[in-house]
Symmetry: C2
Amino acid sequence: MRLWPLSRLGRPKQMVTIGGDRSLLQRTIERVSDPGLFAPPILVTGAAEAEAVAGQLAAIGAAPGATILEPAPRGTAAAIALAALEAGGDSVLLVLPSDHEIADPAALRAALAAALPCAVEGRLVTFGIRPDRAETGYGWIRRGAPLGGGLFEAAAFVEKPDRAKAEQLLAEGNHDWNAGIFLLRADILLTALALHAPAILDAARAASQGAGRADGIVRPAADAFAEAPSLSIDKAVMEKAENVAVIPVEMGWSDIGSWDAVHALGPRDADGNSLSGDVVAPDSRNCLIRSDGPTIVALGVEDLVIVATERAVLIVPRGEGQRVQEAIAALEARHGDRASQGMSGDKE
Amino acid sequence: MRLWPLSRLGRPKQMVTIGGDRSLLQRTIERVSDPGLFAPPILVTGAAEAEAVAGQLAAIGAAPGATILEPAPRGTAAAIALAALEAGGDSVLLVLPSDHEIADPAALRAALAAALPCAVEGRLVTFGIRPDRAETGYGWIRRGAPLGGGLFEAAAFVEKPDRAKAEQLLAEGNHDWNAGIFLLRADILLTALALHAPAILDAARAASQGAGRADGIVRPAADAFAEAPSLSIDKAVMEKAENVAVIPVEMGWSDIGSWDAVHALGPRDADGNSLSGDVVAPDSRNCLIRSDGPTIVALGVEDLVIVATERAVLIVPRGEGQRVQEAIAALEARHGDRASQGMSGDKE
């Protein structure tokens, strides 16, 4: 909920339009829509968002190969296992989170072309984002021995570091951010799951075998899926497997993890403002101001993030967007139950 | 609409609760509710606000002597003429705008006691507010010859001055602000109107004679009232009449003409914040933050005025509240017709 109040329970970040006229989900789908390079995508989503996801795809004329509805959230390992089982055989999967921005799609394609032989040979390839700051919000990956073609063995996965550790990693120069983007063969992943997280594989396989399938919608068996331990793919597989590679890329990547990122990446006017919705901002500078509801009048203010919906208004200095979590905590303390009914609480 | 977006067409400033739990209208009524000193008040209001006014009086258990519904707004001269005709004879009227704050009611009463003999003798007495700054938003009154009891002849009415002129008036020390508060005999006012603004008197008298009266509600004849030139009592009478007196007073007066005034006069917490409504403001200081609608989260901001309703959000640095007019103009330019349908537009 780092983009609160815009993102919230029932309307996660990937569904809302941020900069431009398409959502992050729509832009992600468009990124892999070249039929010469990609098969129709397999989407994995919560059942609660299924209708909204279908609507967003229809709006851009995209037809998924399959849409898998998670019966319950069980982490990325189980979700990717469902997709790998659906794809089957030695299909090569590009695993893409649907709430990231990639400003340079040509760089993504170049990295894909470089990584494909390595994935076909049986490596689990992670895309490492070249770091430009000592970011404490991401995991980092240490590059090991070079594998050719710009790829390296993944020597170690470093969990989200503290500030000092992040500065050390940045200075060392041999670490990249773990963005949760992977290129891997379905059968290689399933083999790795069997070795390192067999309970997840068993649950996913049983859920997939018992799934209902109609009109491109896959509904895995809920009882079976509920048995899956809830783990990230990093924890379940990548940190343990020997056959993990990393390809460092610079492709204008952002997880749009804060309003500051939206301001930094989006279009700005001559005053440095990024304005959207019903907003007037005379004599204001270097602000991100967005309304999805009321008229906002910001007069003579600077370096602020102002976001309004019909339910809530956020005002925070630019550069402190990550503190929104504090605000949510304060709100939850104040509102009690109401907070759990949609004031906040998406999966981030 | 200097308290936009809280005040707007259909919900003027005097009707909303600002600091404490009563509206400015309710506090004005309470100020004159001592039956040993005051007869039940005569209210003059627009027909559109009649129901809300009645509700606010009922909420504090106040019963007006009469409520006169202006058929159309024709300025304060015609409105006061209606009240004077309703009161009749040599009744002494205390004319009070319903959207002012008077923090020191004892000072008001002392000034009333001092001014009453002068009003009874036939002077139109204005209450002059002792100025503490070079205010350009008010008219000023020059004191003339002393009349005893702390009163003076009103030597001249000065229209809203520019900054240099206001500083000169402040330095001269013999001018007070014109707050639109008067003590005057009904018959003396009607005589002055007959002399200086006979068309207003004729229209008001015809409207009053043709009025419908039921249950304490007076509905002046609309056709007749429409003939009244629309003028302020200052322009129609006070600037012209010879028998005008001024009594300088210090009574904690404010016309709550900006959000800055609300912040300055209202209660503030240990961080210097004045918060009302559904607001959380961790690590914020010296802000006025008020919501009449959405939840406001203001995180780590200082010296801001933030006001939200369901329709609009205002953010402006504290101390620049008077610039709200600029914002309204910008909005009107943007919204066109919509602006005239309630985005803005009260009588101020």
